[in-house]
């Protein structure tokens, strides 16, 4: 099992979700987050005074998938979240030791 964490632009969430559904990812958890990468923040103006917004709003998607679906899921995210401009985000993949479905107590890939 692998856990995929993807940080994406908020308006791309719908597209990314659909593309993950298409490759058979059946569940995911989404969090509104703020952060910055190499692009840094940007400046805004309120009542004539500039200020910098260092942390930009992003969406963090977490999904745990069977090993054989990992590659397809990661590339589905990359494909659907890409705009080609700075700030598109990143995908991280981690190994997962165990998973339990609380209702039935199924374990491992059965629980996904």
């Amino acid at each position: 099992m692998k856990k995929i964490e993807a940080i994406i632009k908020p308006f791309k969430l719908e597209e990314v979700k659909e593309s993950l559904n298409e490759v058979g990812v059946e569940g995911m958890t989404v969090t509104e987050v703020k952060g910055f990468g190499r692009q840094k923040g940007h400046t805004e103006i309120y009542r004539g005074s500039e200020y910098t917004v260092d942390f930009l709003p992003k969406i963090l998607i977490q999904a745990v998938v069977p090993d054989e679906r990992c590659e397809a899921a990661a590339s589905a995210i990359v494909k659907s979240a890409k705009t080609g401009k700075i700030g598109d985000g990143k995908v991280f993949i981690y190994p997962v030791e165990e998973a339990v479905r609380i209702r039935t107590e199924e374990k491992g890939e059965e629980a996904l």
């Binding site: 703020k34 103006i45 309120y46 009542r47 004539g48 005074s49 200020y51 917004v53 942390f55």
Partner: protein, 445 residues
């Protein structure tokens, strides 16, 4: 009536006929059966009452614009202050303010306040509930003026937001509304020395708005800026937490202004009330447009909060002369106010005078401008110098009255909440409650 209107003659003729057919009456029944005079009185009086209700609505406007332009952690505190002001304002006006502001014959400078009447019978009713009193009843007069009185303190509330101790604000605002506002009010509307001098302030550019604006300025100077607003010589903007709330507030104030200015005609005179509606709306709109343009030109971006301030600046600007300034001139008055308010907000920020909602600029700066504008554009016997004298006198009085009151509070019970409370927000600090308990707290990222 100062302006030459198209229908002027007709209005005058109708009025003359009404006068001619209005013989003196000796009982309430006689008055009520008079064919033209009584319906006219009813319409006049009804309009004053509607106008009073519209001015009441302005307090909701203040409550929303002030909470929208400040941070969410201080929302309960701002709203609480606004509820307090209208409650305290109307009652103190009943017990002291009304008769201190309209004392009848007095020395022209100061009159003691007394409670309003508690009911009329017989000859008293005939004197106070008929056209013997005015085009409206004693009660209508009181409630319309009472709604105005609380406005002056509400202006202060926005400027001192997010850092003033609740108790100190309540004491200071009470003294300002109950004692100070009726004094300067009596100078003009009570027939005092400025009225005698020929000073003109139709609905209160100076008496209400500049008074509130300069009282706010003194309080802000004593109070100091919000923590984190000016750091290392740089201005760090502190964003309002709800632009939709602020916008609702500005529109509610605009709506209420039709009562504020329209009611100040003090009758339902069709020509004059209509003219006042037109000049009021035109000046407000011109102020909005001018502030939009000014913020784009001077501040790089078209700023919504400035556009809202601009609407209000235009309205404040026309308030002194809404009945004596022509519609075309009202556009100029409003537009100048709209530019002035933007420049004033920026200038105050440069001087490190921290006014979260722009109240000092909207009401103080543009209140003075509107009063002077009567001396420039007003059709009638107005001089620029008298207007200047009046607005400076009242603004200075308001400034020093506020300086003394809030100064005394500063050196006794204290004016400012602790640094920790300011950081955590006055909602929890002063009231022990959050404004939006089911939402995540805002983090300044």
């Amino acid at each position: 009536m100062q302006l030459v209107l198209g229908q002027d003659e007709t209005v005058a003729e109708v009025a003359a006929e009404t006068e001619a057919e209005a013989p003196a009456f000796t009982t309430m029944e006689e008055f009520q059966s008079m064919p033209l005079a009584y319906p006219k009185f009813m319409v006049d009086n009804l309009w004053i009452l509607i106008a009073a209700a519209l001015v009441f609505l302005m307090h909701l406007g203040f409550a929303t614009i002030e909470s929208g332009l400040t941070r969410q952690k201080n929302t309960v505190n701002i709203l609480f202050k606004n509820v307090f002001i209208i409650s305290m304002g109307v009652l103190t006006y009943a017990f002291w303010g009304f008769n201190s502001m309209y004392p009848g014959d007095f020395n022209g400078w100061f009159a003691l306040g007394t409670p309003i009447a508690n009911g009329f019978e017989g000859a008293d009713a005939l004197a106070n509930m008929t056209s013997n009193y005015a085009d409206y009843t004693y009660w209508a007069d009181f409630i319309f003026q009472a709604m105005f009185a609380a406005t002056a303190a509400t202006i202060v509330s926005g400027a001192v937001a997010e850092r003033i101790k609740l108790g100190s604000f309540m004491i200071g605002a009470t003294v300002l509304v109950a004692i100070a506002y009726p004094i300067t009010g009596s100078w003009k509307w009570g027939g005092g020395w400025l009225d005698v001098a020929g000073f003109y302030d139709f609905a209160g550019s100076t008496l209400v708005h500049a008074f509130g604006g300069f009282a706010a300025l003194a309080a802000v100077i004593l109070l100091g800026a919000r923590k984190g607003k000016y750091v290392n010589g740089q201005i760090k903007p502190i964003l309002g937490h709800s632009m939709p709330l602020a916008t609702i507030g500005a529109f509610l104030l605009f709506l209420g202004w039709f009562g504020f200015n329209g009611g100040s005609v003090l009758s339902a005179d069709p020509g004059l009330v209509s003219l006042v509606f037109v000049t009021t709306a035109m000046a407000g709109c011109a102020g909005g447009l001018a502030a939009m343009a000014a913020s784009k030109i001077f501040l790089q971006k078209p700023d919504l909060s400035m556009a809202l301030n601009g609407l209000l600046a235009g309205l404040v600007g026309i308030t002194a002369g809404a009945d004596v300034i022509s519609p075309m001139s009202s556009i100029i008055v409003g537009a100048v106010a709209g530019v002035l308010v933007v420049l004033s907000v920026v200038a105050l920020d440069k001087a490190k005078i921290d006014d979260p909602v722009g109240a000092i600029s909207v009401h103080g700066t543009c209140g003075i401008w509107g009063t002077l504008a009567v001396g420039i554009f007003g059709a009638g016997d107005f001089t620029f110098f008298t207007q200047l004298k009046g607005t400076v006198a009242i603004s200075l009085f308001a400034f020093f009255a506020s300086l003394i009151v809030f100064g005394l509070l500063k050196f006794t019970v204290g004016l400012r909440v602790s640094e920790q409370e300011e950081e955590e927000g006055l909602d929890v600090g002063e009231h022990g409650v959050s404004s939006y308990p089911n939402f995540q707290p805002a983090v300044d990222l």
